[in-house]
Amino acid sequence: MKYPILFFIALVSVAAIAFAGQVITIMHKTTSVRADRKFFAPTIATARYGDQLTVVEEKGGWYKVAIGKKRGWVHNSATAKGKVAVTAKQFRKGAVSGQDVALAGKGFNEKVESKYKKENPEMNYAAVDRMEKVNVSDRQINKFVADGKLASRGE
């Protein structure tokens, strides 16, 4: 082939575009929508559990998504492809049909935890809740890295 590099670039571009327009569902409690494809990039919005977002572009394990009027990147580890009804509300609204999936209320979930808690009142869930409430912002992390002169060797 005369121009193998151009062919490769074209192939990658087609693959990236092929996923554009598809929908992904956020499968984590929350996830940052970032300005760039890096975990240290600024957060421009926060996507929440069950949010169904349209993909604009896919690159290196990251999806560029439209969220409101903004566009940014979410990592695929926080997502599932397609529409997934993860909450009872989505299930009731009939947000799932055909190839879509309903996971609402399945598996080890809040309901199982609630029963487990009742049966095991000595478990210190209050302390776990407090532990989860400790929040570290991107700004704090960036300051911590800068103050400690931590030269990242790649994410």
């Binding site: 599932a80 209320g105 049966e119 210190n124 570290v136 992390i141 103050d147």
Partner: protein
């Protein structure tokens, strides 16, 4: 994991060359397989699930919360806002350099009050360090090594792997293939029983038996790389192990009971670090920062 076991594992892991690229690649492969499987499960919503790696991030989170709740019913959390903020900022900086930068509800770190030298990581990212261990740390690099090791147990899903297959099989068969929004009372009771058994499996592994040698080796290798990637001197690990080794010499209270001598491991770890060219400076500025949060 039990920190009494960590030193042995860390050094032995490095000694056998586990800190090399194949291990890092192994971690990435595990993460990648889990993500692929998760997509498949989300698509089918099916009971094709067989093993711990088929648990969703959400299920892992609820399991982790229960394990954490059990640990915190045995250990008192330290109410210290400044230190809590410090270890959480450091831990979250490290986690972003791991093979699994995000979990269902993120990584959380907590100091627990106990003179024993120990640390635990519950599935989903709940990490605990005893004041006994914390008080032995001398630099931020050493704290980074300890946290990175615990993060690695989470990224490699070692806690989940402790769940006995029978308990998982039972849970998966109850969950079934139906688009079940609400469980019936019978199903909920059965699923909660399987959940409870799973929690006990994990806590037993974390607190009583400890992980297998190979799991510790893998966690150690990952930890070295994570700390190094974040910009730390990976030798923080070996220095902390030296400290533990000297303590072990004074009172061998179970420290290296199931592992080879720490001195041998330390030697091999240093060799492995050299081989992998994992090095970096321990900056005074970071040590000075750590001193502000040190525990005498």
């Amino acid at each position: 994991m039990k920190y009494s076991i960590l030193p042995a594992v860390l050094i032995a892991a490095l000694a056998t060359g586990c800190a090399s690229l194949p291990i890092d690649q192994n971690a990435l492969n595990i993460a990648s397989k889990v993500w692929e499987k998760r997509d498949a499960i989300a698509k089918t919503g099916s009971a094709l699930r067989k093993g711990f790696s088929d648990l969703s991030d959400e299920e892992e989170y609820y399991i982790g919360r229960a394990v954490a709740a059990k640990i915190l019913s045995q250990y008192r959390p330290v109410k210290d806002k400044a230190r809590t903020s410090y270890i959480n900022t450091l831990g979250q900086t490290l986690s972003r350099h791991s093979s699994r930068p995000q979990t269902f509800a993120g990584y959380h770190f907590l100091l627990i009050s106990s003179p024993e030298i120990n640390a635990f990581a519950a599935p989903g990212g709940f990490v605990f360090i005893t004041t006994g261990l914390y008080s032995k740390l001398k630099t931020e690099e050493q704290l980074a090594a300890v946290l990175a090791h615990e993060i690695s147990h989470v990224t490699l899903r070692h806690g989940l792997s402790a769940i006995k297959t029978a308990n998982l099989t039972q849970a998966f068969s109850i969950i079934g293939t139906e688009a079940m929004m609400e469980y019936g009372a019978k199903e909920l009771a059965q699923l909660t029983a399987a959940f409870e058994d799973s929690i006990n499996d994990i806590v037993n592994q974390l607190v009583v038996n400890g992980y297998s040698r190979s799991q510790e080796y893998d966690a150690d290798s990952e930890a070295m790389r994570v700390a190094w990637k974040a910009g730390y001197d990976p030798a923080g690990l070996t220095r902390f192990l030296s400290t533990l080794n000297s303590i072990s010499g004074k009172n061998g209270a179970g420290f290296f009971k199931t592992h080879p001598p720490a001195a041998d491991r330390l030697k091999k770890a240093s060799k492995a670090m050299k081989k992998e060219k994992l090095s970096g400076p321990t900056l005074k500025t970071r040590t000075a920062r750590f001193q502000r949060y040190a525990m005498k």
